[in-house]
């Protein structure tokens, strides 16, 4: 399971990197989203995947999974959700103001 998840993380990072390097604003945002999903999954994988055990330790519990990474991922997902929605609005406003989504054209002049 860990191996499979590690490969998934790797693929997410790979696709994300490719998309960040493109010129379109929207693709850059999608790339950042995919990479943050990759980072969140990595956090889960790094803390040992366990199947079938709740993150609770009762009196007679035989197995439990570590609750900390789950709490961390939840926080990180919420943050990345907020930031992504802001980024989308910002990209839309940038597009409206400059009438282009091509980052090459959004470079600005050299003497600025």
């Amino acid at each position: 399971m860990e191996i499979l998840m590690s490969i998934t993380v790797g693929v997410l990072f790979m696709v994300g990197t490719y998309m960040i390097l493109t010129k379109s604003i929207l693709r850059v945002i999608l790339g950042l989203m995919l990479m943050s999903h990759g980072a969140h999954l990595l956090l889960l994988v790094m803390a040992d995947l366990k199947a079938g055990a709740p993150p609770l330790l009762g009196e007679d519990a035989t197995a439990f999974s570590d609750p900390l990474p789950q709490a961390l991922i939840l926080t990180a997902i919420v943050i990345s959700f907020g930031v992504t929605s802001f980024l989308l609005v910002l990209a839309y406003r940038t597009y409206k103001a400059h009438q282009t989504d091509d980052l090459e054209k959004l470079r600005g002049t050299a003497d600025e």
Partner: protein
């Protein structure tokens, strides 16, 4: 449970939330912000005094003990940074009252101003790696909004790049946290330090250390990751640019110093030499950027980069004197840099320009502005007896003691070039032929300059009272180089 430690984080957060509700009432917003900021300044000074007298203060939220619960730790370094952030926040806020356009005030300027301070203070005071991430995000989200606030075309274009690079850095922060948790099984700073001390394997730790260095270097604008800074700090109005220039990159530097004295002190010959090399390149390329520019705000932005290099140089040398010099330098830099950005804002308010070749003769029409700028500028360049001299002196002296002649040479050359570019601003903008209209030169700017006076006074005081302030910095450096004190007071062993 010591609630004084949490207050510098809670107070701006609560007030920011309340201000959202009062967004239509400008005068009330200003009154509340002014009073809160004063209270925050007083509070942070009280906290610093308490910590100086009684040692490290800790607040365990919900009374969960240290490695399990979320904790806030106020040691001398953290409290010094909180005091500095309050000073800069205070002056920039009062400067904003005078200069910020009413339309910007209407769109939630003050709430986000306080949320930014919440994030900054939280990042300084937290004792937990993941909480550091959270407070970084609080700070960054507020900064995204402030940097694009006003939505001019330039701001929209450059803010997108600023946001993208910071989102990218943050996701590597999560990756770093994940690796750290896998390697050590904890995220509490003190607990991490203890576990890492026991670990035999330094190879994997070096990888994690470099990953964190990458993350914080992106936020703190170290070579070669500083490219986003000059353009994005050019866009927003002066009060925001000053707050950013003074504070934001320094949060990254604070995190680097904290991590590489407390947690990653296992292999200084590897990590700290990399930091030292980065410091040299950062200083040199930053100052070259400044020399090549002809725009008031851009020169200042490039100087942020070169001066971040000095701070990191102190960490790279890793002796008590060097770290004390770096801390003195951070204090000096935050104050002076904020003041210089505010002067740029004042000059822009008079002439409507920030390009040096379109300015001139401000010395004739506004002598007070000109001389106050001159004092601050030569303080930045490191002319005695102002604060810039003593901090650089300590850094260079310890460089000689350690026999690191290359970095010392670079630092001295950079100092000279800093002086050159500051004089360039003074010659073009303040000397020379008057290029603004008669009406503009009659403009009264006393009320704009008043909030900057405390900053100028502080750089003079820090120069003349160098002895006690340097002793304070040395105490902080000693505390940073003795992580056991921190660990023991957090884990109560």
């Amino acid at each position: 449970m010591n609630s004084l430690v949490v207050l510098p984080v809670l107070l701006p957060f609560l007030v920011g939330s309340i201000l959202i509700l009062l967004v239509k009432r400008h005068a009330l917003q200003r009154w509340i912000s002014g009073i809160t900021m004063t209270a925050l300044l007083v509070l942070s000074i009280i906290l610093a005094v308490v910590v100086y007298q009684d040692g490290i203060q800790i607040s365990e939220l919900g009374n969960w003990e240290a490695p399990f619960g979320i904790i806030f730790v106020a040691d001398m370094f953290a409290t010094l940074m909180v005091v500095l952030s309050s000073i800069v926040g205070f002056t920039c806020l009062f400067f904003a009252f005078r200069t910020i356009a009413p339309v910007r005030e209407k769109y939630y300027f003050y709430p986000f101003y306080f949320f930014l301070l919440t994030g900054v203070n939280g990042a300084f005071l937290t004792g937990d790696l993941f909480n550091l991430f959270v407070f970084f995000e609080v700070m960054l989200i507020a900064s995204y909004i402030l940097i694009v606030h006003g939505s001019t075309n330039y701001q929209l274009r450059e803010s997108f790049k600023y946001v993208a690079i910071n989102v990218f850095a943050s996701l590597f922060f999560i990756v770093g946290v994940a690796y750290m948790y896998a390697a050590t099984g904890t995220l509490n700073f003190a607990h991490l330090a203890e576990r890492i001390d026991e670990m035999e394997q330094t190879g994997v730790l070096n990888v994690i250390a470099i990953l964190f260095l990458l993350v914080f270097a992106m936020k703190g604008a170290l070579f070669p990751l500083y490219f986003w800074l000059p353009r994005s700090y050019y866009g927003p109005p002066a009060a925001i640019a000053a707050l950013f220039g003074g504070l934001l990159t320094k949060v990254g530097i604070y995190a680097i110093i904290r991590m590489f004295t407390l947690v990653f002190n296992h292999d200084p010959t590897f990590t700290h030499n990399i930091i030292l090399a980065l410091a040299g390149f950062t200083m040199f390329f930053g100052v070259l950027g400044a020399v090549s520019q002809f725009d008031f705000k851009r020169i200042l932005s490039y100087h942020i980069i070169s001066q971040v290099g000095y701070m990191v140089m102190g960490l790279g040398l890793y002796t008590q004197l060097a770290i004390a010099g770096a801390i003195y330098y951070i204090a000096h830099h935050i104050i002076v840099k904020a003041a210089l950005f505010l002067f740029a804002g004042a000059a822009q308010k008079i002439t409507g320009e920030t390009h040096l070749k379109k300015m001139g003769g401000l010395l004739g029409s506004h002598p007070v502005l000109a001389w106050m700028f001159f004092i601050t500028a030569i303080s930045l360049a490191g002319i005695p007896p102002l604060s810039g001299f003593f901090s650089k002196f300590a850094l260079i002296l310890s460089g000689f003691e350690e026999g690191r002649y290359i970095i010392v040479t670079v630092a001295l050359i950079v100092g000279l070039l800093t002086l050159f570019s500051m004089i360039k601003i003074f010659m073009y903008a303040f000397w020379g032929e008057r290029k603004h209209t008669e009406e503009q030169s009659q403009m009264k700017i006393g009320s704009v300059l008043l909030p900057i006076v405390p900053l100028v006074a502080l750089t003079i005081i820090m120069g003349f009272a160098a002895e006690p302030i340097f002793q304070y910095s040395e105490a902080i450096a000693a505390e940073l180089l003795e992580p056991d004190v921190y660990i023991n007071s957090v884990l109560k062993e």
